[in-house]
């Protein structure tokens, strides 16, 4: 009998059907991958199991008995715990304090005893947690471990992990997978939500696929392959390799020299970073999140105050122009056409409550002497972007906030390349995007490369970086760990370089 059976589950938000008549079984002691594109309803489905949402229709059975799970606390009573994509930890508390937080145990709060229990859990599964360490001193991977221990401490037998590897380096992912295997050995049931196929293949026993809120099918991982899973996920045949055309006449376009940046609270974010981005090639930037990628791009775009160094732009005729100390308007005034697709699309690149037309004119609204805005030209541009990039929207008067992640990104990238840039900076351009949209974005970047644009691509998925980029700059703690050729790079080596300057010696 299945440990958990979900039957005919339907969940609706407004007019969006997030889950439509989904039935899913989770067997005891297995690792199940829940696979699907973004917006396919994976997280929603699991949130109903963990008591965050309540299904609009359908029934959940645990060990064959019908149950209602109205809150996360009730979910724990049934032994179900979920590790969310965004951690829910109190920064100034220690690991142990966070783990016992909200538990109503008999007697007074005894952190020493809790610490012992936490150590025992860690020893059983191979975690590495210091119960007395404060959360703000922890790396992302350590925080995730605390979240997992928190769930186990509450006696969960069924663990749900929502895209746990999105924030981890390849090495950290390996460690996590080892822990998950230990849990399985101990009889725990694990559900892992993901859209990365190689992870499904590596870790899970069984895979269930959702598409557009509907249940598509399930199979044993050993009996399927990446191509079949993709086709089920997307609903049609998709080619899985990323194109990498040869660089077009690469010449230096942006020369960064000894760039040093401190954040407003005086933390060193970039430490003497030097590199050159060439026209006609894609320069990848790899690194664990928060290693200075954001500051680097914002410094080039004129949005970051810089302590030291220089950023020079090389015109086609060889003349050089210093960009540092200039704001975005002044940079544009130099005749430098610089486009920037920032990480925070709705917080920085676009205005969520405004419609497509108004977002198109963000860059261009100043044009002309009139005190009034011209909405005709941006409207045409919006229609063109919708048309050419196949943006799925009811119209150009829809607020961009209502669009799905992939479509938001298409609008942003569409606007940025419409100004025919000579430099295109992009940060996590495919984060949160499904396979289809991701490939559209890769294609757009490659087109820009063919147009002799200097493309800088900050990415988190090493597989993609290695396939797409001509050269990869690896950052580690704000310093350049090395620059490698995309064609010759080795994934493990780059992973090592992300955690240790130069990549260390032990694997050479």
């Amino acid at each position: 009998m299945a440990a958990v059976s979900m039957r005919n589950i339907t969940k609706i938000f407004g007019t969006i059907v997030a889950n439509d008549d989904v039935s899913l079984d989770i067997h005891k002691g297995e690792i199940l991958s829940l696979l699907g594109e973004n917006g396919s309803g994976k997280t929603t489905l699991m949130n109903m199991l963990s008591g965050i949402y309540f299904p609009d229709a359908g029934q959940i059975y645990i060990d064959g008995k019908p149950v209602t799970i109205a809150s996360p606390r009730e979910a724990y009573e049934y032994g179900i715990g979920m590790i969310h994509q965004h951690f829910k930890l109190v920064d100034v508390f220690t690991a142990a304090e966070n783990i016992v937080l909200g538990l109503e145990e008999e007697g007074r709060l005894d952190l020493t005893r809790a610490g012992e229990r936490i150590r025992k859990i860690c020893d059983t599964y191979g975690f590495d947690v210091d119960p007395k360490q404060k959360i703000y001193n922890m790396s992302v991977s350590q925080k995730q471990t605390v979240e997992i221990v928190k769930v186990l401490y509450r006696g969960a037998d069924i663990l749900i992990l929502d895209e746990p590897t999105a924030v981890l380096t390849p090495q950290e992912t390996e460690k996590l997978f080892a822990v998950l295997r230990n849990m399985k050995k101990d009889g725990k049931t694990v559900v892992i939500i993901t859209h990365k196929l190689h992870e499904v293949e590596e870790i899970s026993d069984r895979v269930a696929v959702l598409r557009k809120g509907r249940y598509i099918g399930e199979m044993k991982t050993s009996e399927t392959n990446a191509q079949e899973m993709t086709n089920m996920m997307v609903g049609r045949e998709v080619a899985l390799n990323i194109e990498r055309p040869d660089p077009v006449d690469p010449k230096p376009r942006i020369i960064v020299d000894n760039l040093t940046v401190r954040s407003s609270d005086n933390v060193l974010k970039l430490d003497e970073v030097s590199f050159t981005a060439n026209a006609g090639e894609i320069l990848g930037i790899a690194g664990i999140s928060g290693c200075g990628q954001k500051e680097l791009l914002e410094a080039i775009a004129g949005l970051q105050s810089v302590e030291n160094g220089s950023i020079r732009y090389v015109h086609d005729n060889g003349e050089e122009e210093e960009l540092l100390g200039r704001d975005p308007l002044q940079i544009a005034g130099l005749g430098v056409s610089l486009s920037f697709v920032p990480e925070d699309r709705l917080g920085m690149g676009l205005v969520g409550s405004m419609d497509l037309t108004d977002n198109m004119m963000l860059r261009s609204f100043r044009r002309g002497k009139s005190v009034f805005t011209d909405r005709k030209t941006p409207r045409k541009l919006a229609e063109k972007v919708v048309d050419e990039l196949e943006v799925n929207t009811p119209g150009v008067s829809t607020p961009v906030r209502r669009l799905s992640g992939g479509n938001v990104q298409k609008v942003l990238v569409g606007r940025e390349i419409a100004s025919s840039p000579t430099v295109l900076l992009s940060a996590y351009a495919v984060r949160g995007l499904d396979i289809n949209s991701s490939y559209t974005i890769y294609d757009l970047l490659n087109q820009q490369k063919k147009n002799r644009v200097a493309v800088v691509y900050v990415g988190e998925d090493l597989d993609v970086l290695l396939e797409l980029c001509d050269r990869i700059l690896v950052l580690c703690g704000g310093r350049v760990s090395g620059i490698v050729e995309g064609k010759k790079a080795d994934k493990n080596k780059v992973g090592m370089m992300m955690t240790r300057l130069g990549g260390g010696d032990d694997d050479e």
Partner: protein
């Protein structure tokens, strides 16, 4: 789904956010909420006072529209409230919470009174009016500009700062009222230039309040156009939504904040000018009378749309005029009118909840069907 499989623990209601609603349906909800408010008002009236609610309601309308004079007064009051609300619009669109309307109006009024008193016998009235107008607008702008400068420069809290500026203005006016007091010892300024009418705004024909109403109407329409169609209005919207987006496209956020607050405070100053030179011809510390804050409420209820503010400020003035009427007609005190106003506002604000959220009751599958149908008709996904 069979009834038997349902456990008793299923929550009775759960609340889900709506995506969008057709505007007709939204207005239907708003109208329904006003009807519901009137019913509750009727019940409260009968149970608390024993009066016939319909006669109370008709007295409210009578108080607002009962005679030609009452209608003009209603127009005058609405113009003042509308003017302050419109002044709030650009600041609030930018998410700058200007709570200093009270002080900005008062300081504009103070400047106007000062010009009328000191220059009344020195310059001809048209020039005096021009000087007062410019002076009042400028000082209102400065009164809002100071907190804006500090906000832009050091990110101080504008809510507290603008609020404090109110007290400075009130104390300043209180001080000058003693200096300007007439007759001596009365503690009041009295009608300024009553004999010469120097610095008084002319009346259009015999309609004393018409000029004020027309000026405010023009300001309202201009503000609507400014916010909706000008480049400045666009910048204000971008800054309000996300300062990092604004910086990203090279909008100078500091400059926009200061510029917008100069405008907001300037219109408040203008309002003070209109009140002193146009209608009251005197000044007291309670000239704004809380309308600097009421304007905040109007701006929110109208969702920062200047044209919608016309309706909202009219409604509030009708209620307040009516409240005064029923207090005298039925021997109730003024507070009873406030209770009724409170009930009506509660329902109007509450209706926005029902426009934004849907409440699902246990066992109801209507929501499910609705959404599925809507999805099939071509939703976003």
């Amino acid at each position: 789904m069979s009834k038997a499989s349902k456990s008793s623990k299923e929550p009775l209601i759960h609340i889900t956010k709506r995506k969008t609603m057709a505007w007709q349906k939204a207005w239907l909800i708003r109208i329904a909420s006003i009807v519901a408010a009137l019913i509750v008002c009727a019940i409260v009236t009968t149970s608390a006072t024993g009066l016939d609610p319909f006669s109370v309601f008709s007295k409210i309308l009578e108080g607002a529209f009962g005679s030609e004079r009452k209608i003009w007064i209603l127009g005058k009051e609405t113009a003042v409230l509308l003017c302050i609300s419109v002044a709030m619009a650009p600041a609030f669109r930018m998410k700058f919470w200007n709570l200093g309307g009270e002080g900005q109006v008062l300081i504009g009024a103070w400047m106007t009174a000062a010009c009328m008193i000191y220059l009344g016998d020195k310059v001809p009235t048209p020039i005096l009016i021009l000087i007062s107008l410019i002076g009042a607008t400028a000082i209102g702008a400065v009164w809002a500009g100071i907190p804006a400068f500090f906000k832009a420069r050091w990110n101080t809290n504008e809510t507290l700062f603008t609020l404090m500026m109110n007290y400075v203005a009130i104390q300043l006016v209180a001080y000058y009222i003693i200096i300007w007091e007439s007759p001596k010892g009365s503690g009041k300024v009295g009608i300024i230039n009553q004999a010469t009418n120097a610095g008084w705004l002319p009346s259009i024909g015999s309609y004393q309040y018409l000029l004020n109403i027309l000026v405010v109407a023009a300001v309202t329409v201009l503000m609507y156009i400014y916010l909706q169609y000008s480049k400045h209005g666009y910048e204000i919207a971008v800054v309000g939504e996300s300062q990092s987006t604004a910086r990203y496209v090279g909008i100078k956020v500091d400059r926009v904040i200061i510029r917008t607050l100069l405008l907001s405070g300037g219109i408040c100053g203008l309002c003070g000018f209109l009140m002193v030179a146009g209608t009251d011809h005197t000044i007291t510390t309670t000239l704004a009378g809380g309308r600097g804050f009421l304007g905040v409420l109007v701006a929110w209820l109208a969702q920062f749309n200047p044209l919608a503010m016309v309706l909202v400020s009219l409604l509030l003035c009708v209620l307040s005029r009516g409240a005064g009427e029923i207090s005298t007609a039925f021997g109730l005190n003024q507070s009873f009118g406030d209770i009724l106003t409170g009930i009506i506002l509660f329902f109007i604000i509450g209706s926005e909840f029902f426009i934004n959220y849907r409440i699902n009751f246990r066992g109801s599958t209507k929501a499910v069907k609705d959404a599925k149908n809507a999805g099939k008709e071509g939703g976003l996904h």
